[in-house]
Symmetry: C2
Subunit: 165 residues, 2 copies
């Protein structure tokens, strides 16, 4: 099997995330406010995983004050809108781009906690076959591989004999 080692490339999408969000809000009779726009633009400005706290901090460092409450409320909306995806790798929720980003899954290094994305079409096929066999109508999936990344594998000194007992 051949897999690309580079980060995944964003998809080309017709609408900017903010516009997508505006449409979503409009349908529900809600408003695209100043704070929401700032938050969405900031989040889609760089592709990385983040949690609520990091986002508050990042925004603050960028000179934008958005209260913790608003950050939590807006993140929830963005997930409902399909713009973000929520990951529960630990006890705090992390988020990543969903809109404008290809379906993918994650490798999680249990040593340094680095998260690597990968894309694999067989997974989708398997997901659908398994769902069908159980009568489920699939709407999504999460495939997480836990292990030790190349860097951590190399950096650990080889165990001494006695440690192996």
């Amino acid at each position: 099997m051949e897999l690309p080692r580079e980060p995944l490339k964003p998809l080309t999408v017709s609408d900017a995330p903010v516009e997508k969000f505006r449409e979503f809000l409009e349908i529900r009779g809600e408003k695209l406010t100043d704070r929401r726009r700032v938050l969405v633009e900031h989040v889609f400005n760089s592709h990385k995983h983040f949690d609520a706290d990091e986002l508050v901090r990042d925004l603050h460092d960028a000179g934008q004050k958005v209260s913790r409450a608003t950050v939590y409320r807006t993140l929830r909306l963005l997930v409902e809108a399909g713009l973000l995806r929520e990951l529960r790798l630990t006890n705090r929720s992390a988020f990543e781009h969903d809109y404008g980003y290809p379906t993918h899954d994650h490798l999680h290094c249990t040593s340094c906690h680095r998260v690597v994305e990968f894309r694999n079409d067989e997974i989708l096929r398997l997901r659908d076959a398994i769902s069908r066999a159980h009568g489920f109508r699939p709407s999504g999936h999460r495939f997480l591989i836990e292990g030790v990344c190349p860097t951590c594998s190399r950096s650990h000194s080889p165990r001494r004999r006695l440690d192996l007992i």
Copy 2:
């Protein structure tokens, strides 16, 4: 693809879970106490997913008082010992048997929150191939399929035309 519809069958293991736990504790110079034995025996008495709160309640209903603190502490140990597996489907952790139970994954009904287990060997193959391609040394994985179960699919009245717009 053909998949069994019955629940997975437990593996045959040489040691009872309690014995396995005792060994684990012994190595770390810790003790198999009365409360720990009660908890482990109760947990391995039936195969189902549960969270800390449910376990406290179940034990209490069975006439066994184990404090919430001890339940949390012991669950953590059981995960470290490889007897239980922790699932993070929601914001509270759920647990399931690991020792004496075959590798498997989950279908999660987003409507009624039922969790169905399934076993599929291709996933293991895929996991190893993907790990290799990224230089990871895999130690485990989680494959979660989200969707709507057959029961929920049937019980929902078909949408009216207008709802589909």
